[in-house]
């Protein structure tokens, strides 16, 4: 395969033909002296057996030992083979000298062999070669022939004696080498082991020596006259030897060292530390035929180096070709591609650094050829699958080649519409000349890099074909391995190419693709640049809309210069102002790049306006154009909807929602800038604890992001970050317009005014700016902006200024007239129907204030009020629609109607403790009176009725008090209000026609203050001459006025309280007396005392006595009474009957006495037990029988049951059971006697409140003191 291999073949013949170059067939040389025939017979076996087993090679300088398979090139010994003094050649160096003999005859030995060996040894000694071996071959056949042979060992011993002093191992015996016996096998093995060991020893020694020499040489590199090329040759020799020994790794190290050494020199040269020899490499580049990697050794280049004629590219090429070869031996093709890329970059840099003159394009050719060469070389040694799997290693070369071909194309005028001009052609010819002729080794390859380049440069068409092939291949590879960005960059180059070739439609795809990537990752500068290219492309394509959109983006792009921005802005304006016949289609563009809506400001700020009112909307627009732009019209498209929620339209809503300042801010998402990520929702993080279900111990804890789905939402490929098209203009009947204005760069404020017409909600939907034929549209205004138009009916509201109105004092009431859509004209009045009880008071100076609907005070005017008997007429001031008129008037309620005492009055005594809670509740709130006013409003034919609620500040109660037969009426007046009043002229009148009756007041003062929540009591004595009526109608009245006010003008207002007192004449006097036991001075605890109750009738038969209890016989009337002794405080124990029924004569001074025994339970002053008296109605009473169930129960409830309850509560001695049996008996409808209590005042208990001293009994050791 290699022509160079022929060189090696010559080696065996003679060493006279230096230089000997390493080839694949090279092996370390071993010379053979002595019996050549013998050797020839052994040789096949030897050459086969030697490499079979590996041998460990221990090496100097701490290098790791290696297992090595040894092979050798056995040549006949000649003195010429031995290296002369100073010859550093390693390849031709004989590493071992072997002397072969099969002599077994002492005589023969002495006669010839010994001399021969001695001669051989002397030659070796002259050349100070110590690596030798003497092999004695023995064969049984020969022994048989000679009978008188010496023991075989003797020859070997002789030789050892003669030559191997102290080195007995330098002589080995090989027994019957050609026989297939175990003995011969053993002998072979021993021999081979020896041979290998000696070879390795020789390697170690000689290579070590060589390396030492080499290092010495390298150390001299600072000396003048040192030549890199010479040194190169020396170290390469070492590399060759390593390669020969299959030690490719070591060989590679040699080249890498050379590489590094050279690189360092170049770097130093760049730093000003030049070496003389380096200047030679700086000769101008004249040949750029690329790397040659198809031969193991590029002899041409090697010769150039050896002759010190190599250029930098030559040296680099040769060095790399060697490294490449070794790497491929080492099965590391991917390292080749990686190193290749580094090399190419490095060479370009080095040439720059060394300031080597390079014709333009020459390096591009060299790099292009080299890339393809490397790629083809790798393809040559790997299969398709391997290559596909390692695209990431090779794609760089592809990309580099593409890049270089592109620049060649540009250089040679192949990328243009017109094709190359003569200058370009000349340049092409020069470049092709530098390539030289194609190498013979690739001459037959159809797709050789050389042919490709030549073809690509030959015509515009072929260039395009090759360039596109390469580009597409590169893009595909990049895409396949996921290097999208790199793919896009190549695509952009391709787009540039197409643009040059006037093929914008092909370019667009690539530009859009790249732009999308850059937008997605927010690379502003790249976006700008790509957009600029895209704009040009779109212009060529005639995509007017897209072009204008891109232009607007570019005009707004602050990464461009002012001039560029102005240019793009002007492009839009030029188009916009183009005159076209027939008013062609308008072009609609997205506004976001042209101008940004920053804020929107409503006036009125709450964005609510009444029908006919004026609304102004101020837009703050940030114009992103670099120059002022004349705008024909700005329109806001408004969507109208009838508002369902009528509340929004009311004036109340207005006043309650006036907090906002009317400014709505818009956060602008600047498309294509990283700011947009701010619009992502914030992380919603929550702590998470997970407990084990069994023992509730903490299993895991962490933080959970709850809106992961929002944040990690896959970015849809369809979601266009660039809103190029699809902006539609809504058609709407409602528009806010503003015409003919100039939009200055930066902030502009534009005010729209509109008169509200139909009530409803108006939503601002789109913003549209017309510039000539171009319309910039903001398709959605977000957040939603709305304003409301409302219409309102006129309304009158009357409300007190205080929480509640009190009767009897003048208080202010506020009138609020909401005009709504009604305009108050001169002469419009409010007509109030007068009510007697509630006069309307007014001052001549009372004012009305007019507010606008937004609560701004507009004006004030005096109020004219005229009052006739029936009607109060308030002349309203003139006010426009949608205003509020407010004024205040004083009203007063005169409590003309008397307060009537409640019916239950006579039950109070009994119900007191039961109903006390409810009563207290009722007592705490004032009685109220609603007063209605009818108002006629000018805007309506209907009257408005307004109810005012007044509270009556006082609460009156009365009670009847008795003292024997004398009667008193007590009235308690309680002030319920918060004010302090002065009471005067209190008076109690008998409203009945009992002239006989006299009411004697016992009240001292005529005027009294009554403070808030206080009560005042009034008492009168009843006096009469004749018989009293069974009931008495009374009317209590007093005058009051508030004390607090400074104004004395308050007139006194009357308070009237009417009540009725019944059955107030005292019928019985009950008197209880307790006597100590006979002989004792005091009552003692535990001892029985006598209780004497005397019941005395105070009057003769009266009307009230006529009931069913009354029995009449012999002109005497008797009635049945039941008495009962009750001790509520359990001070007494009543012994025996505590109650009884007595028959009482109905006659004055009739007395009935009852005795019973009581026992004091405690010592001290004990109040007397109560004695109660009831009417005892017999069961046969007709009335009772007639009672239906309901009234019976009612009655029961009213009297008996209560009574029973009282007994049950109070009597400690009675058992409850008995009571229940009686009550249950009653319920069964059995005729039972009934009890009826007397009304208060009919029974006078003269011993109420009496006490008796009870002393403790002497026996008592325990003194009980109870304080009640």
């Amino acid at each position: 395969m290699d022509p160079a291999a022929a060189v090696a073949a010559e080696e065996e013949e003679g060493s006279e033909k230096p230089p000997v170059i390493y080839t694949m067939e090279n092996k370390p040389i071993v010379t053979c002296a002595g019996d050549q025939n013998l050797f020839t017979s052994v040789y096949p076996m030897l050459s086969q057996q030697l490499p079979r087993d590996p041998m460990e090679w221990r090496r100097s300088y701490g290098r790791a030992p290696k297992m090595i398979h040894l092979e050798s090139n056995f040549v006949q010994f000649k003195e010429e083979l031995l290296p002369k003094e100073g010859n550093k050649a390693l390849l031709t160096f004989p590493f071992l000298h072997i002397y072969w003999t099969e002599c077994c005859d002492t005589e023969v030995y002495k006669a010839t062999v010994k001399d021969d060996i001695t001669k051989w040894q002397n030659v070796l000694k002259v050349h100070s070669s110590v690596d030798w071996l003497i092999v004695v071959v023995e064969s049984d056949a020969k022994k048989k022939n000679k009978t008188n042979i010496l023991p075989r060992t003797s020859i070997v011993d002789k030789i050892r004696n003669d030559f191997c002093n102290k080195q007995s191992d330098r002589c080995v015996v090989l027994s019957d080498p050609l026989k297939d016996s175990s003995r011969s096998q053993e002998s072979w093995n021993a021999f081979l082991t020896k041979l290998r060991t000696l070879l390795l020893m020789s390697f170690t020694k000689n290579l070590g020596k060589f390396e030492d020499d080499m290092r010495t040489l390298r150390e001299k590199r600072t000396e003048p006259g040192w030549s890199f090329c010479e040194y190169f040759m020396v170290q390469e020799e070492l590399a060759f030897v390593f390669e020969m020994l299959q030690q490719f790794e070591d060989a590679l190290v040699q080249y890498d060292e050379l590489d590094a050494l050279f690189s360092q020199y170049v770097v130093n040269f760049g730093a000003g530390d030049g070496a003389n020899w380096l200047t030679f490499f700086c000769q101008p580049v004249r040949s750029w035929n690329g790397l040659i990697l198809r031969k193991p050794i590029d002899m041409e280049k090697r010769e150039l180096i050896q002759n010190q004629e190599a250029t930098l590219l030559d040296l680099r090429s040769y060095l790399f070709s060697r490294q490449c070869t070794l790497l491929i031996f080492l099965q590391r093709p991917w390292e080749v591609s990686q190193r290749a890329l580094e090399l190419l970059h490095n060479c370009v840099q080095e040439l720059k650094l060394l300031e080597v003159s390079v014709p333009p394009g020459a390096l591009d050719c060299w790099v292009f050829l080299s890339c393809l060469e490397v790629l083809q070389r790798i393809e040559g040694c790997c299969d398709r699958a391997q290559i596909d799997a390692n695209v990431s290693h090779t794609v760089g070369l592809w990309s580099y080649a593409t890049e270089k071909l592109k620049s060649l194309g540009y250089l040679c005028g192949l990328v243009s519409e017109k094709g190359p001009n003569s200058e370009d052609l000349n340049r092409t010819v020069d470049l092709l000349a530098g390539l030289g002729a194609e190498r013979p080794e690739t001459a037959n390859t159809a797709q050789s890099p050389y042919k490709k380049l030549k073809e690509a440069l030959s015509s515009v068409e072929t260039f395009e074909k090759h360039y596109l092939d390469l580009s597409h291949a590169t893009i595909e590879m990049y895409t396949n391995i996921g290097r999208i960005r790199s793919a896009k960059l190549v695509g952009k180059d391709l787009a540039e190419f197409y643009m040059r070739k006037k093929g914008p439609q092909k370019a667009e795809v690539y530009l859009q693709g790249a732009l999308k990537t850059y937008l997605a990752e927010g690379w502003a500068l790249l976006i700008t640049h790509t957009r600029k290219q895209l704009a040009e492309c779109q212009k060529h394509l005639g995509q007017i809309e897209n072009y204008l959109q891109t232009s607007s983006l570019l005009a707004a792009d602050n990464h461009l210069t002012e001039d560029e921005r102005t240019h793009f802005c002007q492009e839009i304006l030029n188009f916009a102002n183009q005159q076209t016949e027939g008013q062609g289609e308008k072009v609609i563009l997205s506004m976001h790049s042209f101008a940004q809506l920053k804020t929107l400001h409503f006036d009125p700020p709450n964005a609510v306006v009444h029908v006919g009112g004026t609304l102004s909307v101020e837009l703050t627009l940030l114009s992103q154009m670099p120059i002022p732009v004349q705008v024909d019209q700005i329109a806001i498209n408004v969507h109208f909807s009838i508002e369902k929620n009528s509340y929004r339209k009311t004036a109340e809503w207005l006043t309650k929602h006036k907090t906002s300042n009317g400014i709505i801010s818009f956060s602008n998402e600047v498309v294509g800038f990283p700011l947009s990520r701010n619009n992502l929702p914030a992380l919603e993080l929550y702590e998470m604890y997970e407990r084990s279900p069994s023992d509730n111990s903490l299993n895991t804890t962490g933080i959970i992001c709850k809106n992961v789905h929002m944040l990690l939402r896959r970015q849809e490929s369809s979601s266009s970050l660039e809103m190029s098209s699809g902006v539609t203009l809504e058609d709407g009947a409602h528009m806010l317009k503003c015409s003919n204005l100039i939009l200055e760069p930066g902030i502009n404020r534009i005010t729209f005014r509109t008169q509200a017409k139909e009530p409803g909600t108006y939503t601002l939907r789109q913003l549209c700016m017309s510039v000539g034929k171009v319309q910039f549209v903001l398709p959605h205004i977000y957040p939603i902006v709305q304003y409301d138009v409302y219409s309102q009916e006129p309304q009158l509201k009357v409300e007190p200024l205080t929480d509640s109105l009190l009767a009897g004092i003048p208080q202010k009431v506020k009138f609020t007239v909401t005009t709504g859509h009604y305009t108050m004209k001169n002469g419009d009045t409010l007509q109030l129907s007068n009510a007697d009880a509630m006069p309307i008071l007014y001052h001549p100076e009372s004012k009305a204030v007019i507010y606008s609907n937004t609560r701004e005070r507009v004006s004030q005017s005096t109020l004219t009020i005229q009052s006739s008997e029936k009607i109060t007429s308030i002349a309203l001031p003139m006010a426009p629609a949608y205003h509020v008129i407010e004024f205040e008037l004083e009203v007063m309620y005169l409590p003309s109607a008397p307060v009537v005492a409640m019916e239950r009055e006579n039950l109070i005594n009994k119900d007191l403790h039961r109903k006390s809670k409810e009563k207290q509740k009722a007592d705490n709130c004032m009685a109220t009176v609603d007063q209605k006013v009818t108002i006629d409003c000018p805007w309506s034919i209907y009257s408005t009725i307004i109810a005012l609620t007044f509270s009556i500040p006082f609460n009156a109660k009365h009670s009847l008090l008795s003292a024997g037969k004398r009667k008193y009426v007590q009235v308690c007046v309680q002030n319920m209000s918060e004010l302090c009043f002065e009471l005067s002229e209190n008076n109690l009148k008998n409203s009945g026609n009992y002239t006989d009756l006299q009411l004697v007041p016992l009240n001292s003062e005529s005027q009294q203050l009554i403070y808030s929540k206080q009560s005042v009591f009034f008492v009168w004595e009843l006096k009469w001459m004749k018989e009293l009526p069974p009931s008495l109608q009374c009317q209590f009245l007093f005058s009051f006025c508030p004390v607090t006010s400074e104004e004395q003008s308050f007139s006194l207002k009357p308070f009237i309280y009417e009540f009725q007192v019944e059955n107030f004449f005292t019928l019985y006097n009950v008197k209880a007396e307790i006597f100590p036991p006979l002989g004792a001075e005091y009552c003692k605890t535990g001892s029985l005392c006598s209780l004497e109750v005397s019941i005395t009738r105070l009057s003769d038969l009266l009307e009230v006595d006529k009931d069913e209890a009354l029995t009449e016989s012999d002109g005497y009337c008797t009635t049945k009474l039941m008495y009962e002794v009750v001790d509520n405080s359990s001070n007494w124990a009543v012994c025996g009957k505590s109650s009884g029924v007595i028959s009482m004569p109905v006659a004055a001074r009739a007395t009935h006495k009852v005795h019973m025994e009581v026992m004091p339970l405690f010592a001290g002053y004990l109040p007397f037990p109560d004695v109660r008296l009831y009417k005892y109605l017999p069961h046969h009473s007709a009335h009772s029988m007639q009672l239906d169930a309901d009234s019976w129960i009612e009655n029961d409830n009213l009297s008996v049951d209560k009574n029973v309850d009282d007994q049950a509560d109070s009597s400690s001695i009675r058992s409850r059971g008995s009571i229940h049996s009686t009550t249950s008996g009653e319920h069964k409808g059995l005729p039972m006697p009934r009890l009826q209590s007397f009304s208060s005042g009919q029974v006078f208990n003269s011993s109420t409140g009496m006490q008796i001293l009870v002393i403790p009994s002497k026996d008592d050791h325990v003194l009980e003191v109870s304080v009640t």
Partner: protein, 145 residues
């Protein structure tokens, strides 16, 4: 002659790999620099995903030479929070060896950490910090020839 780009973390879902900070000295050819840095992200991503397979604990933040170009050498570095640092050095600048690049990255990282510690800095925002600027400037000047 050296350019530094600091790139965003990948955890931002919407826009990843946007430049947090990008600085170029000298400023000419800035566009090419931006393209280079952007393209280098391909390799950074590749390296990061390759590293993901390796042990995470003993991860080396320094990604080494991402790829050489004719004119520049591009180095990468990635923090644990996936903030990528990319440094582009002129190929001719031989003063910068691997060790220098490493220490520069470490310095950048420290400075970036300081920025992140600033309570007023919103992670993910572009960096506008004078301290950071100064640090980068001094670092660049140190090696600019």
């Amino acid at each position: 002659m050296e350019r530094i780009a600091l790139l965003s973390p990948v955890c931002s879902p919407r826009l990843q790999n946007y430049p947090l900070y990008i600085r170029s000295v000298p400023t000419e050819n800035e566009l090419k620099f931006h393209y280079t840095v952007h393209t280098s992200l391909d390799v950074v991503d590749e390296k990061i995903s390759a590293m993901g397979k390796a042990l995470v604990d003993q991860r080396e933040l320094y990604l080494g030479l991402l790829y050489p170009t004719e004119d520049y050498k591009v180095y990468g570095y990635v923090t644990n929070s996936k903030v990528k640092f990319v440094m582009v050095v002129d190929s001719s600048n031989t003063a910068l060896r691997d060790n220098e690049i490493r220490s520069m990255f470490r310095k950048l990282h420290n400075s970036y950490t300081d920025i992140m510690c600033n309570p007023f800095y919103n992670p993910g925002d572009c960096i506008h910090s004078r301290a950071f600027d100064n640090m980068v400037t001094s670092m660049m000047m140190q090696y600019v020839k």
